[in-house]
Amino acid sequence: MLQVMKNISTGLCVSLVTITAPPSYLWAADEEMLDLELSQLMQIQITSAGRKEQNLADVAAAVYVINQEAIHNSGATSIPEALRMVPGLQVLRMSSNKWAITSRGFNGVFSNKLLVQIDGRSVYTPSYSGVYWDVQNVVLEDVDRIEVIRGPGATLWGANAVNGIINIITKQSSDTQGGLISVAAGNHEDGIASFRYGAQLTEDTYGRLYVHRHDQDSYQHQADETDAHDDSQLSSGGFRLDGDFGLQNNWTVQGDLYHGDASQLIFPYWTANSPMPSTVDDQTESDGYNLLSRWQHKISETNTWTLQAYFDATERDEVYLGQTHHTFDLDFQHRLQWANLHDLVWGLGYRNISEEFANSYMVSINPAEKTSELFSGFIQDEISLIENTLKVTLGTKLEHNDYTGFEVQPSARLLWKATPNNTIWTSVSRAVRTPSRVEDSGKIVLEPLPIPPFPKISVYGNPELEAETVIAYEAGYRYSPSSVFSTDLSFFYNDYNDLADYRRIDMTSIMFTNGIEGHSYGLEISNQWRPLSWLTAELNYSYIELKMTSLDMSNQVFSISELVSEESSPKHQLSLRSSIDLSETVHFNILGRYVDQIQTSGQAAYSSGIIVDDYVALDVNIIWQPTKNLELMLVGQNLLDSNHLEFVHEYFIEATEVDRSVYAKLTWTF
């Protein structure tokens, strides 16, 4: 099936879209180059014909790629901000340091149906089923591309890639040679500073180092315009080494280290002795490091294997829970192409996760220490029925986890390239989301009963909980009559079963249960228009409808979970993005987006049923490059209003509005 997916999953760096790196040297004449030493010639980067352009038109899935140029032009200061340009993705900011990001519905603080990877390393938190976006901060200048696949990708990536996968892929260190310093500051951005330096270490080894710091100011509560205490500071650093052993082997070793402080004002916070909630001005402390290595061996042009191993340690301390995760992951993949007919890829994986929790009265997970294992294997074959015209992709993943045992996640995809400009694809796939530790063996205190002696109502984990499943039916059409215009359309119908719900056991106990079934459907359209060399525009629209039914009788009248699922994602989203080269050195970018109304419904009564109005937001920036090495950027985000609400935390953060942000950025390369 998906060429893209293979490239991503094997960590190969065949580009989906050819990215032309800025020249490291400019040559006035042939003469100058003749005076260079051989070792200097070896450092010159060329746009190689060998770097094959992978055509998006050949992928039988809803894929969107944000390349470095788009990231740069967006003025985004973080990965979540960059994701705002992706059609069909729901990217909503619930506070300065908290995001609700999902694909195709079920948005929330712990959007659990979207898998996110950075350079092949999963950043999905297994205990809580979600991504802590506040610590996923990479130096955006070093990102090669972000590949977003809407719809299931479980056949290749395994559980939790139910509604989408985001792959953040950083550049190889050979593509980040030299130094880069960038500093930015504004009314909301207290300061962003990045330093990166890349060098050739030996003839066959390249490396880079980076340090990064990102400080953000707080927003305000919607209700009374008081300070939301959601400022944050993140410091990080890391390295990447890439090398070759002859023509057949290449390797990568990379690692990161970070420390983050993120404030949060928690209300209601419950203690054992009081029926009254209190407010806690908490400081989230996050620490983490990771080390990844990858070895790729090319037996021949059509026969390669990749072995990847990584260790990832994260620690997060919040007043209601402390979490420590140690993950070791080993992944082997083998790709074999045969006679232009078969493109076979199979792999084996092992993951070991050790968790340790510091429980509180409000949130607890027992046993507090646990190690779990995940075994997986997959096979997928892309078969050309008619060369370059019709291909079918069949594959399945089989994995075993400690919570729900064996899970099978197959998919079948068909792509028909009717003409070189018209492509139609369709697919059916099954994916699962496995229960998190909280859903399996946690306890969350919700609120007291309103009658003396005010016993607390708690949600309890259920060790019998089964995996949530989806059968996804997708279809798409791509039309690119010329390089000036192209359109990409995708439809989906998802049939969900065994979605997690809450079942009331007694007056004070609620338990996680597989109690919701339903379906969703929708479409996403992306139109790209490049009428002139200095003008590009992209118009995206997405629509989603979800219908969920709680099977539990007691939930039939009013199901919080139904509401969460159905109303938490904007039905209509529209965005228009344009880049204009005003002159050789001045570039202007604009991103306008319309987001439909949503209704949030938290577990805590106070955050239930808040209507978040629809809004139009506008980001504009201007980039000036006075010299080759210097760049000034002036960015305005959310310019149309001084603040607006995008999402409300389901549990214990008051509705917080996103402010208008203006910042200036200076980038110097050397």
């Binding site: 020249p23 180059m33 010159i44 746009t47 190689s48 066959d204 204009i580 306008g592 139009v616 506008l618």
Partner: protein
Amino acid sequence: MRHFFLTIALAFVLSLAPPCGHTAEIPSESQLKAAYLYNFAKFISWPEDTFANEQDPLVIGVLGNNPFSKELAPLTERTVRGRPIKIMQFKKVEDIQACHLLYINPAIRQLEAVLKTLHGKPIVTVGDNKNFAHHNGMIQFVTRRERLRFIVNLDVAKSNRIKINSQLLSLAFEVLETEK
């Protein structure tokens, strides 16, 4: 929504401003290859009998169409170890008389036969084709990480009586040599 469309309209009005041309030029692969050939000439020694006298030129030849005649031209104004450089083009392998460094156009037919013909002659063969060095080519260009590199077949160099400076060898991406 009104703001939205107003701003979009503004963007398009602004977009009518005349743009300027692009300048940034990336060095071409041909330029780079020409510079490589010059460097190869500097670090390779040919048998004395391949030169008639001290001033006899070092001949850089191209077999087949010359893809970089423009880029090679400046070399004729330079010297290697006191010898002038002469650029020649050969249509067929049989035409090759005096030649020291020979770039073989990748489009040439029957490459293996051509390399077989040249085997044993004191000519440094340079090519782009996949497996060029494995088929008795002496130096093969390869692209690694968007950079131009080269592979050396030392066995061919030895049988062609060519001495390659160790500095050049150390920069090779790979050196092919059968066990002694």
